[in-house]
């Protein structure tokens, strides 16, 4: 399954719920304000890095750039563009958006 999270982890619990309920080997794509969680020094960074051991973590590049965060992405997080977003949706048989 592809999990998509779009809310800031410091404002909503959606990322935490996603990481709690995503099965091993699932993909998690961070978009919009959720991308902050995948940046160095963020309070959620440790959770992302721990999760990256069992999940594939992606972050949307244009959303990182729009937030001045392009140069601060955590190791182990894969940055994708809109084409990569489409590929992820196509590759997975189902997806869950954590609104």
């Amino acid at each position: 399954m592809l999990h998509i999270v779009n809310k800031s982890a410091s404002e909503r619990s959606s990322l935490e719920s996603c990481l709690r309920l995503a099965t091993q080997g699932s993909a998690v794509l961070l978009i919009e304000d959720a991308v902050y969680a995948a940046t160095t020094g963020n309070a959620a960074a440790a959770k992302i890095q721990a999760a990256a051991a069992g999940l594939k973590i992606y972050a949307l590049g244009p959303d990182l750039a729009a937030r001045g965060m392009a140069g601060r992405v955590l190791d182990g997080v894969n940055v994708v563009d809109y084409g990569g977003f489409v590929d992820l949706v196509a590759e997975h048989s189902n997806c869950q958006s954590w609104l």
């Binding site: 304000d33 750039a65 729009a66």
Partner: protein, 131 residues
């Protein structure tokens, strides 16, 4: 101007206004709308403090490039606030630390406050408007 003062309509009263920004810049419209209201308020010669806390500190990030998401980059506008006599910009240390940020990461000069200093600043305002 003196006619206005004689009318005693309160036009000469200066109140302490705090604009409290707690949202990241592009995920919601709060940041942009808040900035627009601050610019309007500047025309009324009030004592304005602009505060960025929680995800609001992200509004001031250097190096923002919004071409990829095709929305307006309003981050440069914070630099123009000085020209509108809005010079009291505050950020709290706790919010910066939780996001791995320092003053050097921000596009404008700000005063960094500890929690108790921010609390006192908030308490002494006549009006607090939250975005």
């Amino acid at each position: 101007m003196s006619d206005m003062d004689d009318m005693d309509d309160g036009s000469g009263i200066i109140k302490k206004f705090m604009f409290l920004n707690r949202k990241a810049p592009h995920g919601t419209v709060y940041a942009l709308e808040g900035l627009e209201v601050v610019l309007i308020t500047a025309a009324f010669d009030q004592d304005v403090s602009l505060v960025f806390t929680d995800d609001g500190v992200y509004q001031l990030m250097k190096g923002i490039d919004t071409k990829g998401i095709e929305v307006k980059d309003f981050s440069k506008t914070y630099r123009a606030l000085e020209g509108y006599d809005i010079e009291k910009l505050y950020v709290d240390r706790t919010s910066l630390d939780a996001r791995g940020l320092t003053e050097d990461d921000l596009i404008v000069d700000v005063t960094v406050l500890a929690d108790d200093e921010m609390a006192n600043l908030m308490a002494e305002q006549d009006v607090v408007i939250s975005f």
